[in-house]
Symmetry: C2
Subunit: 222 residues, 2 copies
């Protein structure tokens, strides 16, 4: 396979993974809306879910422009994403907020890192769909207030945050093992794109630091 063909496969994979991620983010935020303690919170979460849906629609349109079938592009990533969500089903409103903030945070950081190795047009699209829909500030506000009101919540939610990251990494490894073109893009399998192993190590260090910073923003130890 030529390098161009491999690069195209990697981009289709990346956009497919992102698209299905946005569609499940839509679903999950809509489900969390059901837990919302007030109508205003419910409406706020619904608005964020709608923003995720629009990101999904942008990605689907780009896949179609590239001549790729969007469902086929998403298909390889459904099992890992469904498994992640099944293993991290929130039991209540606060767990849902922490999951979305911490889980989307690490996923967003990861995709931003990958976007460094993309052509300009794809990178612009990825950066657009990764824009925060307002959820982060909302989650930080609600979780901090809940911990102030009930300090013993902090222990349970800190454990929960660690579980989210553990499951996310284990599903990411599963995807990396199965999708060669995507992994090659990331770890330098393409001559003039991708990172070398030392850079991958630094990337993981950055992901971990940012995760620790997010947990601290919630008032939790990582």
């Amino acid at each position: 396979m030529t390098e161009d063909a491999t690069y195209r496969l990697a981009v289709v994979d990346l956009l497919g993974a992102l698209a299905y991620g946005e569609l499940t983010a839509f679903e999950r935020l809509a489900e969390d809306a059901a837990f919302a303690p007030t109508i205003a919170d419910k409406a706020a979460l619904a608005a964020m879910a709608v923003a995720e849906y629009h990101h999904f629609a942008l990605l689907r349109a780009r896949l179609e422009e590239m001549g790729a079938a969007p469902e086929e592009a998403m298909d390889p990533f459904t099992a890992a994403l469904e498994a992640f969500h099944e293993r991290t089903a929130p039991a209540d409103w606060l767990e849902g907020l922490v999951k979305a903030y911490v889980g989307d945070g690490i996923a967003t950081d990861f995709y931003r890192e990958v976007s460094a190795y993309l052509d300009d047009s794809t990178r612009d699209l990825v950066v657009t769909v990764l824009e925060d829909t307002g959820h982060s500030a909302f989650a930080v506000d609600r979780v901090r207030a809940a911990i102030v009101a009930e300090p013993r919540l902090a222990g349970r939610l800190a454990l929960w945050g660690r579980r989210i990251v553990g499951e996310a990494l284990s599903q990411a490894q599963r995807v990396a093992a199965e999708r060669d073109a995507l992994s090659a893009l990331l770890v330098g399998g393409l001559a003039d794109r991708g990172a070398d192993l030392a850079e991958v190590g630094r990337m993981f260090a950055r992901l971990t630091e940012n995760h620790t910073r997010r947990m601290a923003a919630l008032g939790l130890s990582a």
Copy 2:
């Protein structure tokens, strides 16, 4: 209370009930998306949910324009709508489709009937937010295909459709008993607006006929 003040209360009630109805329609369609058998069906339901959210946002904006607090306007209707959805939680994809088609259908017919007694500007808004988001054709297509493939489904889904209507009517009665201004608007308690009792009877006949037609469109007996 002056007639104008009573009319304004009735409109705030009506828009509040509709707004919360759209917000729960958003949630319910998003939940049904989780049952969807294919990614394309999931995306189609998500798009419909997004359309319902936009209707909700229009109603909330109108309530604000009227100087009414949207959350307060919605609040009297949350219990009845939540009770309806709790008692009619679909067990699978097809039950979700039938519920949305039959339940939204009768609610839409009802609000259209009421809109005859509204001022032009409110009526235009109500007609806009009642526009079908594409769910009807989608539901009819999927349910008919499922019954062709598995004819014995028809009995269970017909019973399910009757249960939906029964629960909807019982919650509507509960709301009517509690909200005087809204009921007055409907049954002619305001001098130059509203229906007389004979007209209310004819309205119920029309609602029932349309319901029977929808069940037939699904391939079910009412």
